[in-house]
Symmetry: C2
Subunit: 418 residues, 2 copies
């Protein structure tokens, strides 16, 4: 215990270290992408506005937009004919906008009980949607691809003649976005599955994959509360506990694309057993399986004849609402652990807004006054306003919209050669 | 408990939400800054390299570098005379570099026992340094400014004729970088102190302030292990537990500049009392005051006649090393909580490297094999390589170097009108 450990390096100070600076250029964005993203963000924008916003010369904007117009990605519109928008003083008569029909993309959300998909244009508008019942459990990759293909066929039959330029897929589990691999998923057999590569081979278009919490976060960023915000967090409570984070207008990803696993942060040393095999994870105090395993005890049922976890949870919830003390106690403790988890999130990421989302949000114990008040209490108060919290109980389609946003990013990368 | 809470918003799905996109342009960087940062990151760079790296035209680079040269920030150097560097095939004969004497800056690190300061040129090279003994405790703002002024005078006497263009100051506590305010500090009386404004008034130059963990992180990014990395975390264990994070080559800051308070994330509901007044904070299991308050019990001392926390900790440490069981147990538990805190950090941020730093790093129990092995065990394993960990036991000067980096950023903002 008191010997220096092997994998660490002890060093002296940086005496003599020269003036070499960090490679900030690694994070710079090509100008074509900057111009394109700006126009997309604004809906419509005049060239002069683009130049001002990006701090570049009028000549650079003219050259760059000419390229984007030649690629069929932007087009000129009569700035004077901007109907349905607020008039802006001094708006020049010519504006730029995305060509909506420039590209179509498909977004797919794979789930335990249902898969959903949308076809969206380059402006993000939904042209068609589809859904199919799914069965829980881990299956071979080929089987899952068949299910995706069936959804894609459904979309094609609903919007004939449209060709998708990219595919975005989201699924539960540990997804390495950059590598395009699924480290582990409750829907897929095996580990380290090269899902993106397999989809590219099957569908012949650029593909991006991500975990479902990131989809929901992208949906909030592109279509929801996040449009006006550059920093916010989304917490999803479903079968597990997940989160997504937007920082500076972009989705936060760790070095390996594997961060934000709030459900598996430890909230107690040697605590309750989690389904991941470790002890003390937040999820082990909060997810449905965690509540269901206490339900049999609370309700005095024989665990051998117990209901499904989902139905057990419904019974527990209605008992709690009717005043059953042990049932209330289970939800009360889960609520306190949610408060603790949210406080830790706020303490670490300091987001401008926390959005609680997901199906489980209809169990109102999760956002009761007491829970949110306890969360605020558990955050260091110094000079800080209480964190803003919103609860969104959105339907399935919004996840697929997030997957479409992922596909739009892929299509833009492809079109701009990024 | 089971009624919908007041401060939340329940909404329906985003049906009918149009194709309005998020304002990505908020995070775009002006071209002059991009070019300048790129040259600084590279040390020296040819115009063609800049154009390629930033994805802009040769004409844009020529125009932008002409502005930067006129401002006295960049200069042309003979690319063929690049001695002391590896030869690069096809390097053109003219390169650009920062004008080191373009600006000087001062970095100041304020501490419980010692203040340190450095004078650095625009390339980050240290021209002079100074240190003064300090007394712990909270004092009025004016008194602290007097101490800063004395350090600045020391530097001036050591490098006469140099004028500092900006000042960077780091101190322990909760510092709102963007607002330039100190929410709370063990060195300052009151809360919500407008330290930046007061320094600008006193010293008449642009000032940036930050907490000390961010200084150390900036030092690693600009001068240390982080030069080759775009994603890493720094954890400091001193009187408290702090951290800094670099993501995508930039310092992570939450929406309010108040994130990364890992020391006050809760690792146990209703746990040990922290000096912040809350219960269950990581710091309450790990910081020196936390260990010192158990030391009296472990060593059978009368707490009324106890030593200072620091000297108590030294005694406890030497007892542990000689095999005292209760003393060993105190360090062993602290080590397990450090492992838990680091695992949570990795789970949340997924950094490419974790650097443990700070004076307390000479207590080797903090980076013993067992601690680092337990940290790896507490991280979800799926498909992930063990996280790389380094331990840096740097001296005081490195904190002031980080403060100088902060000042360099301020000086660049000022020079470029950002």
């Amino acid at each position: 215990m008191f010997e220096p450990a092997d994998p660490v390096v002890l060093r002296d100070g940086p005496q003599g270290v020269g003036p070499v600076m960090p490679a900030l250029s690694r994070i710079q964005t090509p100008l074509r992408r900057q111009v394109f993203d700006h126009v997309r963000a604004q809906g419509r924008a005049a060239r002069a506005d683009v130049a001002r916003a990006l701090g570049i010369s009028a000549a650079s904007v003219t050259a760059t937009t000419a390229e984007l117009i030649a690629l069929g990605l932007l087009r000129e519109v009569d700035g004077a004919s901007l109907d349905g928008r607020e008039a802006t003083r001094g708006r020049p008569p010519v504006a730029l906008e995305i060509v909506p029909e420039g590209r179509c993309v498909i977004g797919v959300k794979l789930g335990d009980e249902r898969h959903t998909a949308v076809l969206a244009d380059f402006g993000g508008r939904i042209l068609a949607d589809a859904a199919r019942a799914a069965s829980p459990g881990r299956r071979p990759l080929d089987e899952l691809l068949d299910e995706v293909e069936a959804l894609v066929a459904d979309l094609r039959s609903r919007a004939p003649g449209r060709t998708a330029a990219a595919l975005g897929i989201g699924l539960p589990g540990l997804v390495e976005h950059h590598a395009g691999q699924v480290a582990w998923s409750p829907l897929l057999e095996g580990t380290g599955i090269a899902l993106r590569e397999a989809c590219v081979a099957r569908f012949g278009v650029p593909v991006q994959i991500d975990n479902d919490s990131n989809l929901l976060t992208l949906a909030e960023l592109w279509f929801g509360a996040g449009r006006a915000l550059s920093d916010f967090a989304v917490v999803t409570i479903e079968h597990g506990v997940g989160m997504g984070l937007v920082q500076g207008g972009r989705l936060f990803r760790g070095a390996g694309g594997m961060g934000l696993e709030i459900g598996h942060t430890k909230v107690r040393l040697d605590g309750a057993l989690c389904r991941c095999g470790q002890r003390g994870c937040l999820e082990a105090y909060l997810a449905d399986y965690a509540l269901a395993r206490e339900a049999a005890t609370a309700l005095g049922r024989d665990p051998r004849q117990s209901q499904s976890p989902r139905s057990m949870l419904e019974t527990l919830f209605s008992e709690a609402k009717s005043g059953h003390e042990a049932a209330r106690e289970i939800f009360a403790r889960a609520g306190r652990y949610l408060a603790l988890g949210l406080a830790n999130l706020v303490q670490m990421f300091d987001p401008g807004l926390v959005i609680l989302s997901g199906e489980r949000m209809r169990y109102d114990f999760l956002y009761a006054d007491e829970v949110l008040a306890e969360m605020q209490r558990l955050v260091l108060p110094a000079g800080r306003l209480p964190v803003r919290v919103e609860v969104h109980a959105w339907g399935d389609l919004v996840w697929a919209q997030g997957a479409a946003a992922l596909a739009l990013i892929a299509a833009t990368d492809e079109a701009l050669g990024a």
